[in-house]
Symmetry: C2
Subunit: 156 residues, 2 copies
DNA sequence: CTGACTGCAAAACATTTGCAGCATA
DNA sequence: TATGCTGCAAATGTTTTGCAGTCAG
């Protein structure tokens, strides 16, 4: 039925180990998050749950996202915005972000050689890394084309 | 007298080009920021100004930091905290951050080979980068030692 | 002189928290 | 049954904004 049995088990185990409960709300949120691949913020999630007819309060959403983040199932980033963005994590895969300042689009990329260099840096500073995030801000090719086009028309 | 004449000129020019004014407050903030190398947040800056006997309102500090950030003199990062952190930028130098989750210490590092790989990634996605930030979260060696020591004493 | 700037207090926001009733184990 | 959970509304903390008086050019 669902293809995220593994995540479900991981979360359940995590909760059990801490004496926490597997509630209807937590399960529903996990399912919703793992049914898509998009980035989202707390409000998106509230809205998506509401669309599915499940009214879950903002407070509960925040509380659950904290738990999911703590157990490593959900990533939490700030893209220099006023708020957090979340994303489901795929096993053992770390990705970084290209953020277009013009249209806001976020593209994920994976560059294993960057990960290696990060490890070098950690060794150099005797630092034990638990997570990392890498963001490159700029303009995507589509937006640059649009900008070029509008510049050309302005110069009639 | 001051060793940041260059920054001062750059900022003045930036303001002039946009029809903005070089006010007492803006100048004072620029001087304060470029007189040290530390990371700081908006409130730190308000406090530092007050210590120097210059009362500048929080609102003005925020407004000025925006301008300094826009013209590239000041970097603005979010280290997954609730607020922005600022740092003076040194010409042509980009650095990234190691953040200790235990003591909150922020260590800057420079790894030119990471910068190169970033450029590769941008080429691959036809993306024009304007800035980037890289954060590695974990525990620094001092904190790990403390943690190890307290674990040992607990196991009397 | 004029348009931009400042300080203040209020507003706006995302996120967190206290509490009373509810549901899981 | 006993904790832990939830929703609500209120609180928090940072950043932004409206406004009336002030200042740079």
């Amino acid at each position: 039925m669902s293809d995220f049995q593994e995540e479900r088990t991981l979360f359940t185990e995590f909760l059990r180990r801490r004496g926490l409960k597997v509630t209807r709300e937590r399960t529903a949120l996990l399912e919703e998050i793992f049914s898509t691949h998009r980035h989202f913020d707390a409000d998106d999630l509230v809205a998506r749950m509401r669309e599915r007819g499940k009214k879950i309060s903002r407070a509960t959403v925040y509380r659950s996202l904290d738990l999911l983040h703590e157990c490593g199932l959900v990533g939490r980033v700030r893209l220099n915005e006023e708020k957090y963005r979340y994303e489901r994590m795929r096993k053992g895969e770390h990705h970084d972000h290209l953020i277009c300042s013009a249209c806001g689009k976020v593209v994920e990329f994976v560059e294993p050689r960057i990960e290696e260099l990060q490890e070098d840096v950690c060794r150099r500073y005797d630092f034990l890394a638990t997570s990392h995030s890498h963001q490159i801000r700029g303009t995507c090719s589509a937006c640059r084309k649009k900008l070029a086009a509008s510049a050309a028309s302005r110069a009639t």
